[in-house]
């Protein structure tokens, strides 16, 4: 009996291709992190010691000391009260400038907490004076 020689298939097997593609797809789905950078956006004051004369009535001093205590207009306040107070001041005087000053040893987290609170109160004029 003459048998035909079984020829090796000349094409790439395509039935498993979608499986492989699926596997790769799942891999890349898991690996890719669409990293969105989130944070609090601020605009720093321009360079130079260009002191703008402000009416002292329009300035609210926010001082943060090394242990994270906040002095808001010479009053000691809890951090989560800042937003409320800032909102009150802002509605009373839309030109109010909030000036945040910290100690050189203040923790960054405490500073962010204060800036966070002020951002929550939709403060438009934020002056980040820096350290004393």
């Amino acid at each position: 009996m003459i048998r035909k020689k079984s020829r090796p298939p000349s094409e790439i097997p395509s039935s498993s291709m979608s499986d492989i593609a699926f596997l790769l797809l799942v891999f890349f789905l898991l690996v890719s992190n669409v990293d969105t950078d989130k944070g609090i956006g601020v605009v720093l004051p321009p360079p130079g010691d260009s002191e703008i004369k402000l009416n002292p009535k329009n300035i609210t001093m926010v001082l943060v000391n090394a242990s994270g205590d906040v002095l808001f207009n010479d009053q000691l306040v809890a951090i989560n009260e800042i937003a409320q107070r800032a909102r009150e001041l802002e509605t009373g005087n839309p030109n109010m400038v909030f000036s945040v000053q910290t100690d050189r040893k203040t923790k960054y987290q405490d500073y962010i907490d204060v800036v966070d609170q002020l951002t929550m109160a939709n403060v438009k004029k934020l002056a980040l004076i820096g350290t004393q």
Binding site: S14, M17, S18, A21, F22, L24, L25, F28, L29, V31, S32, V34, T36, D37, K38, G39, I40, G41, V42, V43, L44, P45, P46, P47, V64, T102, D103, R104, K105, T106, K107, Y108, Q109, Y111, I112, D113, V115, D116, T119, M120, L128, G130, T131
Partner: protein
């Protein structure tokens, strides 16, 4: 006349084009993925509530890392705070949209942050984003 059979409506999802679709998705995710390992220093970002997405295009964002010991790293190079402005100034001149994403550790002392901010001001890089995680 021969009686024609009614063509039955096919049941099942057509699988012939599926692999094309999958491949397209695959290519999309391959292109979108950046396998680059995270550059910079290891920082534990501070937590905040009122955070928003950075609206600057990615190529205009410059990461400035400050770790808890006060080391500063920009573009994978450690540097002193005094030379930050000289590093950033040429970048700022080429890119008006340049936004600094400040990725500082929550334990960092404000002295260093303030030095960096003053350097940024000297370099006219005024748009800053304090990177934070959601509380």
């Amino acid at each position: 006349m021969a009686i024609k059979r009614k063509s039955k409506s096919r049941s099942g999802i057509p699988t012939a084009t599926m692999s094309d679709i999958i491949f397209m998705l695959l290519i999309f995710f391959m292109a979108a993925t950046s396998l680059k390992t995270v550059e910079g220093l290891k920082v534990n970002l501070p937590r905040a509530r009122s955070i928003a997405k950075l609206d600057t295009p990615k190529q205009s964002v410059l990461f400035v890392f400050v770790d808890r010991t006060g080391r500063i790293s920009i573009q994978d190079k450690l540097m002193d705070s005094e030379i930050v402005s000289s590093v950033i100034y040429p970048l700022r001149r080429n890119d008006n949209m340049l936004t600094i994403s400040l990725r500082a550790d929550q334990e960092t002392q404000m002295g260093v942050i303030s030095d960096v901010q003053n350097q940024l001001r000297d370099a006219s890089a005024l748009k800053v984003n304090y990177s934070a995680k959601h509380k």
